[in-house]
Every structure is written in C-alpha cells, then in structure tokens.
C-alpha cells in the first residue's frame, strides 16, 4: 500500500492551521439577523404564557417566537419524540428554551430577551434518579414507562441464579459514575437561510446532518427535499452535537418567517444546557467466579439519571449492559437497566456511549477479584478473553481480537508484572481493558437502507471528487475518505476534492457517532473507488492491449505491472475511461451484516467489528491529603489496521486525555438549593473555568502501542479508534489508586477528597472504600430470557410476545433500537 498505513498530513490539515476552516459561527450572510433564546430559570414548571409585547416592540427586533410557533415534537429516537423547539406547556430544566428573539444584532436580541415575561406555575423539582424513584408524580413525561422512570429493560442469558448458587466465589459491588459532558471547544452555532428558489439551507455544527435533516422536515412540516443541511466542520463533538437541537429548528423557522438569514451562536453556558453528556449511573455488579477467578456468571443492574428528555437515552440504557460480554468470556449474564427522568439537562451519548460506566464497574471489580484471589490482574484478564470469531452470551458477533497483544504491550512497557503491588506506599500501577463498537448494527430509525454512501465523480481533468454525507468533527473522516479512494486509484489524497456533510450534494451517511464512519463510510468508499478503478482499468487495458489483471495503480499512473514504464498518467487513464464509458461516476454503499441477536432489544450492541484497548496507569498519591497525580500512561489499542497512523495516534491520545479528565476531575454537578427556601436546581458551574478540563499541566506522558489485527469487516481491516481508548482509563486510575494507598474509590471522578475519606474509613477499621453501599429498588419487571448459544439458544427470547412485523408503522413510531 502506498498511502494507507503511513503517517501523513490530513487533507484538511492546511485549512485548520491557517484559520481557513469555516466553522458555523464563522459564516455570515448579507441581511443576516441574530437569534437569542429565553431559557427557563425554573427547573420544573407549567408554562402559563409568555408576554412578548415589550420584546417585540424593542429596537431592532424583527420577530419573537414561542412554543405556539413550533407545535410539532421531535427527538433523535423514534420512541422519544419528546422535544419541542420551544417549550409547550411545560419547562423541565433550568435552561429549557422557552422563547426566541430575532433581531438585527446579537446585542439587540439579547436586550429584548430580557423584556420577555414568561408566566410559570412551579412544579416539584426532581433532582436525581433516586428522587425520581421516590417521586412518581408529577410525571415529567406521560409517556414514561412508570412514574418518572423513562424505561426499564432486562435480559437474562442462561440461568444466572443457578450459576451464582454453585459458584466458589461471588463478588458483589456497587458503584456510582458521575455524569460529565463533552465540552467541545466550539460553542454550537447554526445559520439558516432561504435560498433563491425558496428552499431552506441550514449550516450547523452538527455531527448528524442526516438526522437533523429529518428532524427539521418533521418539526417544520416541510418536505425534506426542500431542506438542505450542511454540517460545518465541528470544533469538536464527542457526541455532544448528535441530537437535533432547539436552536437549529428555531433559526430555521425564523429564516422561513423573516425571509432573511438568521444565525445563533450559543454561549458556553447554553452549551452546558444542550448537554446530552454522560449519564450519571448507579450500578450493582455481581460476579460469580471459579476458584481461580474465571467468570461463571455476571449480574448487572444500572440506574441512569437521564435528565429531562429522552435524547438517545433508551439506547444509552441498553448500552450500559450490551457490551459487557465482548471482552471476557461470560457464560451466563443478566442485565437490568432503567433510566429516570429528572429536572436537569438531558443526558445522551458521550464518547463511549453508555459503556464507560459499566466498564468501570467491571474492570474495578476484576481488580478486586484478582487481589482477593491472589492473582495478577493482567493474567486474570488474559486467561479469559473472548475468542475471536465467536458469539457471546447475548449474541454479539465478535471478529478479530487484538486485546491479548494490547495487554502484553502495556504490561511490558510498564513492567507491570515486576512492579504491581511492589511500589512504595503512595505510588501505584493499575490495569484495565475495554472494547467498543465500530458502528451500530442498526440505524436510529427503522430501515433497510445503506448506512453510508459514497459517490465519486471523475472527469477528463483527472480530478476526482468524493461525495459523502459523513461529517468531519475533527476525527479525520475527510482524510479517511480521501486516503482510501487515493489508495485504490493510485493517486494522492490531496488530488481528491472531498465534499462531505451536505445533504444536498452527498449520499446519506448516518453521521459521526458510535465510531461508525471509518468502517461504514470506508467500506462504501472502497466499493465506489473499486468500481471507478474497474472502469478505468477496462479502458486502459483496451488501450494498452493488456489483461486488466496486469494493471497497477500508483503514483498517479496506471501501468503494466510487468513492465512498469508502459502505462498512462492517471489523467490520461481517466480520459480513456470517459471516452470508452461516457461520463464517469460511481457509487458505493454499506450496510452492516444482520445481527445474530433476534430478541427485542438485541438491536443495541451488535456491530460489524469491535475494537479493543488495554491501559496501564501509574499514579502518585499523597497519603495525607489524598492528592492524586497520574504520572504515566501506557495504552495499547487494537485498531485492526491504521489507515493514517498520525490520526490514529491522535485519537488514542485524545481519548486518554478525555478519560483522565473524567477519571480525575470532570463532573456535571448540580446544586439543589435548600428545598424549604427554594425549588432551584441549577448546574453548579456551567463554565469552562469551573467545569474542569485538564490543561497541559495535567496531561502525563503517554506511550501508545497500535496493535494491528486486520478485521475482515473493516475497510482494509481497519477498526475504530475514536472512543474505545477512553474506556480503560477511569478504571485503570481507580485500580492504580488502590495499588498506591490500598483504598477503593468505587466512584468516578476519583478526587482527593474521596481518597482521604476512604483512608479515614480504613483508619477507623471500616471497609477501605468510598462509593455507594447498595442499589435502589427499581421494581424490575421479568427479564427477557434468551438461552446462550452454547446452551442451545437461537438468539430469540423464550418469553417474548411475538411481534408482527409492521414495517410502515415501525418506521414511524416503533423503536429501533428495538
């Protein structure tokens, strides 16, 4: 290969270092108006009306909009169409948008927002998941499954209780994982304009232009064909820009009403209110093992604090259970999860979507098992890795697994075997592993369409343009597209013009989420490029009177492999092809293989391939103050094949960074004022100063090992790297703290305060830990019972009421993820 596998400059690199990349807020149009939103200052209230007269009369104001202007609900998942561009009869968190002012300047819009007079009747404040369990009424949403529980799910794969009853060891631990947020440095911005032909164009910092396109069509009751969404390059996303957002729909509606371009750029505080970040999760994890610590069965319960709206929450809930099985062999498994509605900004998908929380629980518990049974934690893991090309208890199809090699690399690099358990007090090492999806097996709404499409245009100039709906959010997807096409056609990535993120110009790609783009767009790109190559090859073969098989494509030439000086330049080859075939264009598309999981809910978790990571982390802890410094990270990541190692390494290091932030300091914390005095429930510090994102001062040295074990499902064997390497970081830190000072922090973030508290507990002769001591009574319904493959199962649930397939109805309002 000429391009793939070598570190090189990204195709969008130059624009980014010259300031030429045009982010959403960099765009302006003639006659442009500005929008500002009035947001609820109450956590939960009935909206009795909004007095808009004074604002409408203020200088510069062109339009004031309220909930009445946007009566149609939308939401990212078909099962949770519970959002409106502006509040209808209810506001559900401080920051919920209520009204909008559109004016000739941002200053004028902001001043007029102050003149809006909303009238509210306050309702009971529900501050967290426990509060939601205890407070079934008033319901935040009447569609909730019961009380303020949005959704409960449960599965059992094999007779878990029987395994527990006969197991030599049972480990039972409770954990709490605090919520946190994506914090892209770019504040969300959107510009909407009515085109000359009356159609609507929306530029937005969104990771999912296709889903935004659908939401706009629905919420504005407008034909999708008359809407064009252009995802501007995102200044970071991490999952925080994958929902359709209020402000996007509001400015689109405002542009349609005023006939003028309308822009909004959110303040940092408003970005915190958009949120969709990591769910806070309470967990109880019970694991039965044999005498050596090999897992016999696992039983996991999770309770998610979902915030005020559905967002991706149903999928997030499934994800807290779905991927526990793809790392280690788990013969029997039970998972029950529930999501609560609370009066806070909605949670959703953040890097690792739903899986970092149970991963933390599992990896910390494995460390406890190792310690209890006198095993080395690295060996305990190596002995029970999933087998390649196998089905798990919950019917996930695992392909290649480079995890063993990842573990070996980090264990050697850190001299884990020599040093773990032997460092002086105050210093410690911890190890943890993880796995992640390379794209979800199912789209968000039910269909059998491609998940990604790529279209190539080649013309007589020798120019190649690649069109795809995929969205560049910083992860390097434009470069993956150009790199793969260039490799197949034997040209340079910089020869290719890449047109992405535009619903008018490119075929649909579902968006930059669930680590799907490299695999899915990549496969589509290979198909399109392969077809183009065939067209060119057949023409060149005819011209040179050679069999097609003897042609090579490299260095901008198409040539005889046996006599390389014979051949055509790439441009001449394209001319030959255009002469022979007419105008040149090819397409490729990708849809993941069908899942083996045929039970309801089995749609969340299947993926064409899984990536694997292992990390060792070294810490230093002050036994007096609990101060915690991470001094070194070793991380191994099974990338399948690395398409551009410079980008891959960057994703790994960025994941390590973000994982350290979560592990040590990041926290979506809220303040409930004394209930006797106030109903207030506010984000404690919606700012970049007080929400602590690590600076250069906190980032330790990091040694990265890229493990290549090409997966047949991936483009040229590539797997994901954007999310997986974050997952082992938090548990590895917790395990290292234990190694350093002998206490367990069964919570994230792991702060000095908690370490001190655990040390104090230990000094008083109590268990040397901090963390929850139990799990609340959720009132679990009967789980779906599915026999694992090795117990004669076929992927279906024994106790599921069969569902008649109703594709049209399903497409409209039934949930997928099923």
């Amino acid at each position: 290969m000429n391009i793939i596998g070598k570190p090189r400059r990204r195709v969008d690199g130059r624009a980014k270092v010259t300031g030429q990349t045009r982010f959403a807020d960099d765009l302006t149009l003639p006659r442009m108006l500005w929008c500002r939103l009035l947001r609820s200052h109450l956590p939960h209230a009935r909206v009795d009306g909004v007095d808009t007269a004074a604002a409408a009369a203020a200088r510069g104001v062109k339009l004031v909009l309220t909930g009445a202007d946007f009566p149609i609900p939308y939401g990212i998942l078909p099962v949770s169409q519970d959002e409106h561009a502006l509040a209808q009869e209810r506001v559900r968190f401080v920051g919920d948008p209520v009204a909008a002012v559109i004016a000739t300047s941002e200053e004028a819009a902001q001043a007029a927002v102050q003149l809006l007079a909303p009238r509210y009747t306050p309702l009971t404040t529900i501050s967290d998941a426990h509060d939601a369990l205890a407070t079934p009424a008033p319901q935040l949403h009447t569609y909730a499954e019961v009380g303020n529980l949005h959704k409960r799910v449960g599965f059992e794969f094999g007779d878990v209780d029987a395994s527990f009853a006969s197991a030599p060891h049972v480990f039972d631990d409770s954990f709490f994982y605090q919520g946190n947020t994506h914090l892209p440095i770019e504040q969300h911005a959107t510009l909407a304009a009515v085109d000359g032909d009356g159609k609507l164009t929306v530029w937005s910092s969104t990771q999912t232009p296709h889903y935004l396109h659908r939401a706009l069509a629905k919420a504005l009751a407008m034909p999708a064909a008359h809407i064009r969404v252009i995802a501007t390059p995102n200044g970071g996303g991490f999952g925080g820009k994958s929902d359709p957002f209020h402000h996007e729909i509001v400015v689109a509606g405002a542009a349609l009403r005023t006939g003028r371009p309308v822009k909004i750029c959110l303040s940092r505080e408003e970005v915190f209110y958009c949120h969709r970040g990591r769910h806070p999760v309470d967990m109880r994890l019970r694991t039965a093992t044999d005498a050596c610590g090999k897992i016999l069965a696992m039983d996991l319960e999770t309770l998610l604090d979902g915030g005020a709206y559905g967002s991706y929450g149903v999928a997030s809930t499934f994800y807290t259970g779905a991927l526990q099985t793809v790392t280690y062999e788990i013969p029997r498994y039970r998972f029950r999860g529930a999501r609560a509605f609370t009066n806070k900004p909605p949670c959703g998908p953040k890097r690792g979507h739903g899986t970092p929380q149970p991963r933390f629980a599992q990896e910390v518990q494995l460390d406890k098992i190792a310690v209890a049974l006198g095993r080395n934690p690295a060996d305990l893991r190596l002995e029970q890795l999933c087998k390649p090309n196998s089905l798990t208890a919950n019917y996930m199809r695992v392909g290649t697994i480079g995890l063993g090699r990842c573990i070996d690399a980090v264990v050697e690099g850190s001299r884990f075997r020599e040093r773990w358990g032997k460092l002086p007090r105050g210093r410690g090492l911890g190890i943890a592993c993880s796995s992640y999806l390379c794209g979800a097996g199912l789209p968000i709404y039910w269909n059998k369409l491609p998940h990604s499409g790529v279209q190539l245009k080649l013309d007589r100039s020798g120019g190649v343009t690649a069109f795809c709906g995929a969205t560049e959010i910083g992860q390097g997807s434009d470069d993956v597209l150009a790199g793969l096409v260039a490799e197949v056609l034997g040209i340079d990535p910089f020869d290719i013009r890449v047109v992405t993120g535009d619903t008018d110009l490119g075929p649909v790609d579902l968006g930059s989420y669930s680590s799907r783009v490299t695999l899915m767009m990549g496969n589509a790109a290979l198909e399109a490029a392969g077809r183009a190559r065939e067209l060119i090859a057949s023409a060149v073969a005819a011209e040179l009177q050679l069999p097609v098989a003897r042609l090579g494509f490299a260095e901008r030439r198409v040539f005889d492999l046996e006599e390389p000086t014979r051949g055509l330049s790439f441009a001449d080859a394209v001319i030959a092809a255009e002469t022979r075939h007419g105008t040149l264009g090819t397409v490729g598309s990708y849809r993941p293989p069908d899942s083996a999981a045929r039970y309801k809910g089995g749609g969340v978790g299947p993926s064409p391939a899984y990536s694997y990571s292992a990390a060792v982390i070294e810490v230093e802890v002050c036994p007096d103050t609990g101060w915690l410094d991470v001094t070194q990270v070793w991380i191994g990541h099974d990338i399948g094949r690395s398409l551009n190692p410079a980008s891959v390494r960057g994703q790994v290091e960025g994941s390590v960074y973000m994982g350290l932030g979560e592990a040590l300091m990041e926290e979506s914390a809220f303040r409930r004022l004394p209930p006797k005095r106030s109903d207030a429930l506010v984000h404690k510090f919606p700012s970049l100063l007080e929400y602590k994102s690590p600076t250069t001062r906190e980032m330790p040295p990091c040694t990265t090992y890229l493990i290549e074990d090409p997966d047949p499902q991936g483009p040229l064997g590539a797997k994901e790297v954007g999310q997986g390497p974050l997952l082992p970081i938090m548990p590895a830190v917790a395990n290292a703290v234990f190694d350093a000072v002998g206490v367990r922090v069964d919570e994230v973030p792991i702060t000095p305060e908690k370490i001190v508290r655990a040390l104090e507990e230990a000094a008083r002769g109590r268990p040397a830990r901090v963390g929850p001591t139990g799990f609340p009574d959720v009132g679990w319904p009967e789980p779906l019972r599915v026999a694992p493959p090795w117990e004669g199962g076929d992927g279906k649930a024994a106790n599921e009421t069969p569902r008649r397939p109703r594709p049209d109805k399903d497409a409209k309002d039934k949930q997928v993820p099923r």
Binding site: V17, R59, E107, P184, R268, Y657
Partner: protein, 169 residues
C-alpha cells in the same frame, strides 16, 4: 466598590468609535461599537474569523492573539484598549504562501484535530519560539497552559512545536 446592577441601557446604535491599529502587519482603521472586544472586532468588523472563541470569558484560550508580540485573550480585551497596537492573528502567521514552520508541523503531525483551538495555540507557540527558539518540554507546557484543547491531549502539539523549532534552526 463596583457599581451594582442597574437597568440596562439598550445598545446605543450607531455610536461607533474609530480606531487605528496594525493587524498582521497592515494598518487598519476600523469603526466599531465601544463595548466590543478585540475578538468581536477582529471577527466581525475585520472579517478575520480565524480567531476562535470557546467561552468569551477568558477560560479557554481559543481566542488568543498576539498584541505587541505577547499572547493575550482577545475576548477579555476591549478593542478600545488596542489603539496603536500591533495585533497578530493566525491569518498573519504565513509569509505569503509559505506557511510558518509551526503551521507545517501542526498539519503534518496531526496536532490540529478539529482545529478549533489551533489558531490560539499557534500564535501562542509563535510567541514562545520568538522568545525561546529551542524551548524545553516544560517551557512548552507552561507557554500553552492557557490553551485548552479537547481533542489531542496536547502531546502531538508539543511534538509539533519541537519539530518547528528544530526545522527553524
């Protein structure tokens, strides 16, 4: 004591001030409303959108520019304070079509992922190299301690600064 809040005066439209300053080596005369920050004037009145913002409160470093050679936060600086100053933004780093060695190194090593923190980091690193042509790791860490990057974990950024420093020598 600072004045307590009072009812706001709506912005006094039209009452602009005119200021001369040097931007990226060119003299610029610009008219703007007096409450505007240097960030807003650069982006909105001079169309230099290369300079970004992530908080507008001094908490991220995305808006960093050089004023008289020193890295400062343009979101905290009232444009009125910049009369006569010489301002360098990311657009002013390249010499014609020739990228600054820092720009080349950042592009080559993947030190710009989403690229949103990049303009602020580049100008800050430029000021560092102007002062210390061969900076140590700790010096780089210290110089960039006021620039948050959410994508890279900083490590590739350090390497890029080091590579640029080596190449320039």
């Amino acid at each position: 004591m600072p004045p307590q809040p009072q009812p706001p005066q709506p912005p006094t439209a039209g009452s602009k001030v005119v200021l001369t300053l040097t931007v990226n080596g060119e003299a610029a005369e610009v008219a703007f409303e007096p409450h505007k920050t240097l960030l807003e004037v650069l982006r909105e009145d001079l169309a230099l959108t290369g300079t970004k913002h992530g908080c507008e409160l001094g908490e991220c470093g995305a808006c960093a520019v050089l004023v008289d050679g020193k890295p400062v936060l343009s979101c905290l600086m009232l444009a009125l304070e910049c009369g006569g100053a010489s301002v360098t933004t990311v657009e002013g780093l390249a010499r014609g079509a020739q990228l600054d060695p820092l720009q080349d190194a950042f592009a080559d090593l993947g030190a710009a992922q989403c690229g949103y923190c990049t303009p602020g980091i580049l100008v800050t690193a430029r000021a560092l190299l102007d002062q210390h042509p061969a900076p140590t790791r700790p010096q780089i860490e210290e110089a960039l301690a006021g620039n948050l990057c959410r994508c890279t974990g900083y490590l590739s950024i350090y390497q890029a600064v080091e590579q640029a420093a080596r190449k320039a020598r």
